[in-house]
């Protein structure tokens, strides 16, 4: 797989590929196993977000991929659409944290015997998914009488988005320590840290 193809593939995932790149990809996907595998991996991550079952990506989907890409040929995303992209808020409010607890729990695979236990991750020193700043929070299964009600959970993509936001909050200062020594702006990267800790 050439660097250029990989680049186009990534652009396609972000709706930033132009028509020429899409055509080139269509031509290559049928022949290039590595390219197909990369596409499958990218989509595996993406399909979970859109709520599709993961299993179908295990099939040989080169035909489907071609069809999907062909269907994806459309005019470049307009500037208004880009501008309307919501700006992520860095505020980790209590309510958001609560969502993350449920979200993080939801992301764990069903049927895993460990599910539900807030086991700390040894050696990493970083809290496990969904357990940042949530001391004492325990996921609950809502019930009404004897009848178990479905859990009220956000979709997986919401949970992952909250994880990304939470990780930005968690890691920004550590990142700034290195950016401050390796980019031209001096200590300015620390301005990106939501709350500077001593």
């Amino acid at each position: 797989m050439t660097e250029q193809l990989r680049e186009s593939l990534s652009a396609l995932m972000d709706d930033e590929a132009n028509e020429l790149e899409v055509q080139r990809l269509l031509g290559q996907l049928g022949e290039d196993e590595a390219l197909r595998q990369t596409w499958v991996r990218y989509n595996l991550a993406r399909s979970v977000i859109s709520g599709q079952p993961v299993g179908r990506l295990n099939l040989d989907i080169s035909q489907q991929v071609s069809a999907a890409i062909a269907a994806d040929v459309r005019p470049a995303v307009g500037v208004w659409q880009r501008l309307s992209r919501p700006v992520a808020s860095l505020a980790v409010a209590a309510s958001v944290t609560a969502v993350v607890v449920f979200g993080g729990q939801q992301l764990y695979q069903a049927g895993d015997p460990g599910a539900g236990a807030a086991a700390p991750v040894a050696a990493t020193g970083v809290s496990a998914v969904g357990f940042v700043n949530t001391l004492g929070a325990v996921p609950l299964r809502a019930s009404y009488g004897n009848q178990t009600m479905p859990e009220l959970q956000p979709a997986a993509h919401t949970a992952y988005r909250e994880l990304a936001r939470q990780r930005m909050y968690l890691y920004m200062q550590e990142h700034a320590e290195h950016a401050a020594l390796n980019s031209p702006q001096g200590l300015i990267p620390f301005a990106r840290v939501p709350h500077i800790e001593e």
């Binding site: 979970v48 895993d112 086991a119 980019s183 031209p184 001096g186």
Partner: protein, 320 residues
């Protein structure tokens, strides 16, 4: 609580001067440079040098979307060492201090920019990855500026507009440009004075001494139980520091952009997926995956486009 920043500088000098400096610059690139590239690289090298050697103080604005921060920056040079102070004047009353940083200590990102001093022996440096335009700049903080426009040659990095002091080369302003030249983030001086700073006591709640990573001393941060590798990086990116193979963080720079990768080992399987958060020029990309049968959460945080973060995260592997 320390009464003045100056005394804090002195207190911290002792600790931080013990740290030595970082690794050699990457191998020179054998390309011929266009005249425009050579001029721009010359300015970037001058900028990098002036940042190290000049003493100044001023007020800086930092804007991302609707959010505007105002900060005071002070930098002084004394006995071959620099002292640097950033004080938030809005929002959190926090101060970041870098004291006793040796003048001859240059980190990989700065070394990449200073290659412009050694043209043409050093090849074309970051002109391999960026296109340049040099023109007349605006007046910033009362100083006339030279404008260096920087466009990425691939889609793995952002573009920039740098405004440099025409006289000293100091970086007076910087805009980060995303897709379609949309401004993602901008900082610039509102007020600037050259010369040793007279730091004034401020109503500061938090004082954070900036860290100085050392090549031979383990990071001391979180670690995984197994070593891991990053199997794809955009061209021109190099590690900012050397870390143990099990260290949970790695950071890379091309001289202008910086991103860090963080790994977390999870106690149990996670539904595979990805999530993105953006703030100004910063992308936070989190990906849940299974590596060698182990559930791992990979997060890329940095001033790079989403596709860069995704492709880097996709290439992370545990080493058996």
């Amino acid at each position: 609580m320390v009464s003045t920043a100056r005394s804090l500088f002195h207190a911290l000098t002792f600790v931080t001067t013990l740290s030595a400096c970082l690794v050699a610059a990457p191998a020179a690139l054998a390309t011929t440079c266009s005249e425009t590239d050579a001029v721009a690289l010359g300015w970037l090298a001058k900028m990098s040098r002036s940042y190290r050697e000049l003493a100044y103080q001023g007020v800086v604005t930092f804007q991302r979307g609707d959010d505007l921060q105002v900060m005071q920056i002070a930098r002084s040079v004394e006995s071959g060492q620099t002292h640097e102070l950033l004080t938030r004047l809005t929002g959190q009353g926090a101060q970041v201090v870098r004291a006793g940083h040796p003048l001859d200590c240059t980190h990989p990102g700065q070394q990449l920019l200073q290659l412009g001093d050694q043209l043409p022996a050093s090849g074309c440096g970051i002109a391999e990855f960026y296109r340049f335009q040099v023109g007349e700049g605006k007046r910033i903080a009362g100083r006339l500026a030279v404008r260096v426009g920087i466009q990425p040659r691939d889609m793995y990095r952002y573009g920039y507009i740098l405004e440099l002091d025409r006289e000293t080369g100091l970086l007076l302003g910087l805009s980060t440009l995303g897709h379609g030249d949309q401004t993602l983030e901008r900082f610039q001086f509102a007020d600037l004075h050259y010369g040793d700073s007279v730091a004034q006591p401020r109503d500061v709640a938090t004082v954070h001494p900036a860290r100085h990573p050392h090549p031979d001393v383990p990071d001391g941060g979180p670690a995984l139980t197994a070593p891991w590798s990053v199997n794809w990086l955009p061209r021109g990116f190099t590690p900012t520091d050397s870390v143990a193979a099990v260290n949970a963080r790695r950071t890379f720079t091309d001289g202008l952009a910086v991103f860090s990768i963080f790994l977390e080992q999870l106690p149990r399987e996670l539904r595979p997926g990805e999530g993105v958060a953006r703030e100004g020029s910063t992308t936070s990309y989190t990906r849940g995956m299974s590596l060698e049968g182990q559930p791992i959460l990979v997060t890329v945080v940095g001033e790079v486009p989403l596709n860069t973060a995704r492709m880097v995260a996709d290439s992370v592997r545990l080493v058996r």
